[in-house]
């Protein structure tokens, strides 16, 4: 079945630094989403980006469908960005999730 690999597994940044998160997937996806999970919280969708580049606020996602990879760039990180970032893909009704990147931003 489909598999999703995320890297790095964890990341520590100083406030103001940029973060680059990677997502690689094993088969063609018709939909790809990046989610944010706060410590102890539920998941919130950040953006849907099955192909190309999308921006929202300080977030930029670039998905290269042919190479089966997506990235999430967080610019000027803030302490409130700390949490887990999950990538998920679907080629049918089922979403398959990666294990996530745990981001900690320190002041």
């Amino acid at each position: 079945g489909q598999q999703v690999q995320q890297s790095p597994a964890s990341l520590v940044l100083q406030e103001g630094e940029n973060a680059e998160l990677q997502c690689n997937f094993s088969s063609t996806a018709t939909q790809l989403q990046w989610f944010y999970q706060s410590p102890g919280g539920s998941l919130v969708s950040l953006l849907s980006n099955p192909s190309g580049t999308k921006h929202t606020g300080r977030l930029t996602s670039t998905t290269v469908t042919k190479e089966r990879r997506s990235s999430l760039h967080i610019s000027s990180s803030q302490t409130t960005d700390s949490g887990t970032y999950l990538c998920a893909i679907t080629g049918n009704y089922k979403y398959v999730f990666g294990a996530g990147t745990r981001l900690k931003v320190i002041a």
Partner: protein, 115 residues
Amino acid sequence: GGIITQTPKFLIGQEGQKLTLKCQQNFNHDTMYWYRQDSGKGLRLIYYSITENDLQKGDLSEGYDASREKKSSFSLTVTSAQKNEMAVFLCASSINWGSSAETLYFGSGTRLTVL
């Protein structure tokens, strides 16, 4: 906007017990999902339902039953709780467009502890 409500928020059970988790959504979404999240790991799909009265097994369905009683509700039963089991169960929903699901929306989870 809509909301997904999961009950209970915390569930403590005994080994061998049958436990039921409930999920309600008011988005009027077609598809609903149950995922399990273990500490430090990604989400694994237990069951999903494309429409009312439909039921599809995910990768982790063994040991669970599910029921889509109506479009707005989807319940999950742990048929026999395993000792020392600890996990978060997340319910999600999405509207369908063509043959694929669109953006997923999640509830806040049910945290299960088995003594």
